[in-house]
């Protein structure tokens, strides 16, 4: 692993190798099942969950349908509160803005709160090229960074590492970055956490620049929200003199009141807690408390292309809770790295090919990295119909069609030759080779068929020839819909 997603093999190949890794699978299985069960309990505690979920989805839909309005409103309120707003059309531009802002402070080191947006843009590497060291301060991100590794889960990025591996990484690598690990470091989680505390405190107390993402941005007040557990977020958000937040444009919500929905949906879906240990909210700058300078970098990087697709748009509702990962039979077997982007699991399978397009074999194979069992839709706190988008994207890969890339409308050609179909079918075949995934997948097989033409012309033929391989259940799509969704709605 070289700390980059570039040049990663397509999903089927990556999944094939990671499924051979018994330890990885063991770690993952333990973790996803534990979180999954706890989440179900936390959700069951609120008897208005279905209504909260509907409200969350509706707020996000309202925001997305009028995103220009809310972004302008946000810019105005952040500016009025003393912040500076920058716009970045793509990853390279966002990275260049951040590097320039850091350079202008005269600093060469920054502390970072875990941020998927900067993982997506490869900010750390870009900063390194500009001669700036970026220190990840979330414990799991630290483990990943010290191990020259990649995150494999949205919520617990080092879920693929066990305590023995973590101790070895700390012993071997901490000294290279700052305060070394104690000589007698054991593999007890408390000892490992303490080593991280001491190592990072040095950084927190001296850092002049902090970099963060945000879970939410409130348009009408200009408030940013970061939800976390360890306190590293609070450190990065309050101790430095300059704070730079890089946030995807879809993270805006219209009003202060809307936070009441998301602050109930997110912690319970994510860590299965009633509330996470720390939530920080700041509006511009406050005299005498926290950073004196605040920059907000609003990131597009494929989000507007995603917005242009009326079926795929709903992926932008995602609040990155990771619930869909923990219930996904394919994720559990393949592991997060197989998805080849900052966004693993079911959400990655629909978000990445929309953000990046489907030109590479990896990205073209992602819509197939699923058994279509529907479990991801059921747990999603903002009701993203991931199976619907997967099917839609499969159609696009095979049949081509109108898409928007970098803001320009183009017509995508059907996948060339048999390469993409083979890649795709191997991914689907992978899912169906595994009995658990297969059982689950059968529930939706009928639905997939309805949404696809029976037989595709030309290069698509091989695909249709093989796509009836999984046995199709007796239940029709309509019945399935009535039985599952109908109930859900009636609740």
């Amino acid at each position: 692993m070289s700390g980059t997603y570039l040049g990663m093999p397509a999903f089927p190949a990556a999944a094939a190798s990671s499924t051979q890794d018994a330890r990885l699978r063991g770690n993952l299985r333990h973790a996803t099942h534990t979180i999954r069960d706890k989440r179900a309990k936390a959700v069951a505690e609120l008897d208005d969950w279905a209504r909260l979920r509907a409200a969350g989805a509706a707020v996000k839909d309202r925001t997305l349908r009028h995103l220009d309005h809310y972004l302008e409103q946000l810019e105005e309120s952040v500016t009025a509160a003393g912040g500076q707003v920058h716009w970045a059309a793509d990853a390279a531009e966002a990275n260049a803005i951040v590097a320039r802002l850091v350079r202008e402070t005269g600093e060469r080191e920054v502390v970072k709160v875990k941020s998927m947006a900067t993982q997506e843009t490869g900010l750390n590497r870009a900063l390194a090229e500009a001669g700036i060291s970026a220190y990840e301060t979330d414990l799991a991100e630290l483990i990943v960074q010290l191990g020259d590794d990649l995150p494999s889960h949205i919520l617990v990025p080092a879920i693929h590492r066990n305590r023995g591996e973590i101790r070895d990484i700390f012993r071997e690598q901490m000294a290279r970055w700052g305060r070394p690990a104690p000589d007698d470091l054991s593999d007890a989680p408390a000892a490992l956490a303490e080593a991280a505390r001491l190592h990072l405190r040095e950084k927190f107390l001296t850092a002049k620049v902090g970099i963060s993402g945000a879970n939410f941005m409130v348009a009408d007040t200009g408030t940013l929200v970061v939800v976390e557990s360890e306190g590293n977020g609070r450190m990065c958000l309050t101790l430095p003199e300059t704070l730079i937040s890089v946030v995807g444009i879809e993270k805006v919500v219209p009003t202060w009141q809307d936070l009441e929905i998301f602050l109930q949906l997110l912690p319970r879906s994510s860590t299965a807690e009633r509330m996470n240990p720390y939530t920080s909210m700041w509006t511009g700058t406050t005299d005498g408390d926290g950073p004196r300078t605040f920059h907000l970098v609003l990131l597009d990087n494929g989000r507007t292309d995603t917005l242009a697709d009326t079926v795929g748009r709903q992926a932008l509702r995602c609040i990155r809770c990771s619930a869909c990962l923990n219930v996904c039979p394919v994720y559990e077997r393949a592991g997060g790295h197989a998805y080849g982007s900052a966004y693993p699991g079911p959400i990655g399978a629909i978000l990445t090919p929309q953000l990046r397009g489907t030109a590479s074999e990896l990205d073209a194979s992602l819509p197939y990295a699923s058994s279509l069992c529907g479990a991801c839709y059921e747990v999603c706190p903002v009701a993203i119909d991931i199976p619907e988008v997967l099917v839609h994207l499969r159609e696009r890969v095979v049949q081509g069609g109108r898409v928007t890339r970098r803001g320009v409308k183009t017509v995508l050609k059907p996948a060339k030759g048999h390469a993409a179909e083979r890649a795709a079918m191997r991914a689907a075949g992978f899912a169906f080779d595994h009995p658990g995934a297969l059982r689950a997948g059968q529930r939706l097989a009928a639905r997939t068929r309805r949404l696809h033409p029976r037989r595709l012309p030309g290069p698509g033929r091989a695909w249709t020839d093989t796509r009836d391989l999984p046995p199709v259940p007796a239940e029709s799509f309509r019945d399935w819909w009535r039985r599952t969704r109908g109930e859900e709605r009636a609740k």
Binding site: H30, T34, E45, L46, D48, A55, A58, V59, R62, R65, H66, L67, D68, W87, A89, E93, L139, A140, I143, V156, N162, R163, P189, L192, A193, R197, L200, F204, L205, V218, S229, E230, G231, N232, R234, M235, L237, T238, L239, I249, P254, Q257, E260, I261, E273, R274, M275, P277, S280, M281, W282, T283, T286, D289, G290, T304, D305, L307, A308, T404
Partner: protein, 214 residues
């Protein structure tokens, strides 16, 4: 064209399917979810807060106005605190019996100086019973965000029942978004290593909440 114009133009083109006349208010948001889960008397609300805080491994104490100084003194002594941070507007009577040297957070004091301090005592803005959360808003009795972050021991005094609300929606109504806000539910924690919960990574390892009856 600036990137701002580029992104906004892309957004508008992407939304070609949204009817021209549709205003943002026209997209309905059903708000039929509950404002409060269950109904409670003020006493029950405080009891629930105590229970939920304890579930998050915060240490909860109950006391009356005339005992609070003795309780604070005892908690500081038990922690072995030599220096205690005090926000400028803290009720001085709470600290009347405390032995440790009082440190006042000044603009000039560095984070490193704060790091040498054992404990901090603050008030709070509001507490949420259903989730076991206390919220600080930087008022004079709570001080800057960093003082409740750097020391390893945080004693937070909540006036009950006045400062306690049932739910997240009720808390947001009471808070002013212009102030920097910190929501705290239990001490700092991580589950990043094999999902074993460990308390105290970067924030205070020990959170004590004093429920002060008025």
């Amino acid at each position: 064209m600036s990137s701002r114009d580029v992104v906004l133009a892309r957004v508008r083109r992407a939304l070609a399917d949204v009817p021209r006349g549709e205003g943002y208010e026209d997209v309905p948001v059903p708000r039929d979810y509950l404002r409060v889960h269950g109904s409670r008397t003020p006493e029950e609300r405080v009891a629930l807060l105590a229970e939920r805080l304890a579930e998050y491994r915060a240490l909860v104490h109950h006391c009356a106005e005339d005992e609070v100084h003795m309780l604070v003194m005892r908690l500081l002594a038990e922690h072995g605190t030599q220096h205690v941070l005090v926000p400028p507007g803290l009720d001085p009577s709470w600290m009347a019996a405390a032995d440790p040297v009082r440190i006042h957070d000044r603009a000039a004091s560095t984070a490193r100086e704060l790091d040498a301090v054992g404990s901090v005592v603050t008030g709070c803005a509001v507490a949420i019973a259903e989730t076991g959360t206390i919220v600080l808003d930087g008022s004079p009795d709570q001080g800057r965000r960093r003082i409740s972050l750097v020391p390893d021991h945080h004693i937070c005094v909540v006036r009950v029942p006045d400062q306690v609300v049932d739910s997240v929606p009720e808390a947001l109504e009471r808070l002013d978004p212009v102030r920097p806000l910190t929501w705290i539910s239990g001490p700092s924690a991580t589950s990043d290593i094999e999902l074993d919960r460990v308390e105290g990574v970067h924030g205070p390892r020990k959170l004590e909440v004093v429920l002060l009856s008025e």
